[in-house]
Symmetry: C2
Subunit: 246 residues, 2 copies
DNA sequence: ATCGTGGTGTGACAAAAGTCATTCTGCCGA
DNA sequence: TCGGCAGAATGACTTTTGTCACACCACGAT
């Protein structure tokens, strides 16, 4: 049985950590300390194991989620078992602002990639916050805007670019977050080719083949899941060669 | 030379028509008459010929657009000349709310389909409106939400469905706006197969072939640009058969 | 050491998408 | 009525994508 004092202590801890996290969420950027604590007190932490599904496309939406630690992927899945990742969200990201606002169901599913801790904020708490603090709505609009741009980007790639191009483009995006070494840019690939495939909207085998080919062409090097791009410029050039083209 | 009185008369006419149009725009739904006239007085009408480009992807965004008459298409185009339509907007739709808000450039291009009249509202006028009237931001959020859902839908189709499925799905969507006749549902196809192709993200030829095939299978009938679907249920069934599948 | 398991690499194939060239058709203007 | 022309249809072909089957690790548990 839990000692009462311990329990209270836990709640306080949770709240202060929540505060810490919420502070760094873009949509809460310019809330006062008081307002933040209002939220933090109401934020319910939830933990997920790697791979665990957080919510599924089509479910009604109960509230806003904020990532504290870990990483989640938002994706669509086809009846045939294929998946298309729409976005990956790390610590400090808010999720599902949209259905919270328009009242509709989740347009896609979300699952934890790593072990993940989220905060859950009930729809109504968030709503009341927005009414008092109209700036929040504006921030949400910015975040949603960025999301919309990303989606348009995905559509563009899917409808104009080959798997090869999409893969290259994706590697370059990954590389943008890697670190420079004398030998080139070094970055980490996703845990499996399957995952990489669903991020660019294709199947495992094509990723495998195309990676081999890029390696054979000397455009990339791989050691396990570590990617080395000796010359990002060459890779980039490879992209423009096909002029995103189909 | 224009007589002064005529000029004033014109301005008044424009304003009152603008008022009429703005009233029916979702994001302005619950503005007071005063607020609407504030906007209407500042709304600049602009006319476009069929096919004329209204703005191009990547341009900085100057303001919000509202469709009064006609129809516009929002689309991405590839260097190879292919196009992917993201959405079609008719009278009463607002366009480019997003870049107005997040300050970024237009994520896609827009062109008039028919002869079109738009109202242009300067960014700053719209901004000041939003500050006074926070509800507008919430409405915008809903509109943007719907848009985001549509984009997710496009991504889903592009990455999971064949051209045939996409075409069928699109025909059914068109049919939803057609009218019932004893012989089935009757609706109007876009002006050219090329256009239809870019709406579902493929090329002219595939549209042509697939339409022929659907006709041969007795699932649709065509007379010029008029589409007749004898049994929407059969067509729908055809869709589910492949389970949106690849 | 051996087995199982999950992810990988690959060859052989099948299906779908896209390209090219050519022909057909309906329609407008001379 | 005759060209001429744009869009549409169509056959032949290529490329890309996806599927299936199977062999091959690497690694942890037994």
């Amino acid at each position: 049985m839990l000692p009462t004092t311990g329990c209270i202590y836990n709640v306080r801890m949770t709240t202060s950590k929540a505060l810490e996290t919420l502070q760094h969420v873009p949509i809460f950027a310019d809330l006062s300390a008081t307002e933040l604590s209002f939220l933090a007190e109401r934020a319910v932490p939830r933990d997920y194991a790697p791979g665990e599904v957080i919510f599924t496309e089509g479910e009604p939406c109960a509230g806003l989620l904020v990532v504290e630690t870990g990483k989640v992927r938002i994706y669509k899945s086809s009846p045939n078992g294929r998946e298309q990742v729409l976005s990956l969200e790390g610590p400090g990201s808010s999720i599902a602002e949209l259905p919270v606002f328009d009242g509709g169901n989740y347009p896609a599913s979300t699952a934890a990639v790593d072990a993940t801790r989220l905060y859950f904020i009930r729809k109504q708490d968030f709503h009341s916050l927005c009414l008092v603090h109209p700036n929040v709505a504006l921030k949400v609009l910015k975040v949603v805007g960025a999301r919309l741009r990303r989606l348009v980007g995905i559509i563009e790639e899917l409808s104009f670019a080959t798997v090869r191009s999409r893969l290259i483009a994706h590697l370059l995006r990954i590389a943008a977050e890697g670190k420079k070494t004398p030998a080139g840019i070094e970055a980490q690939l996703p845990a499996s080719n399957q995952e990489l495939a669903s991020q660019i909207g294709t199947v495992r085998e094509l990723v495998s083949r195309n990676l081999s080919r890029l390696q054979a062409e000397g455009l990339i090097q791989m050691e396990g899941k570590t990617l080395l791009i000796p010359s990002p410029r060459k890779l980039q050039a490879e992209l423009e060669e096909n002029e995103a083209g189909r």
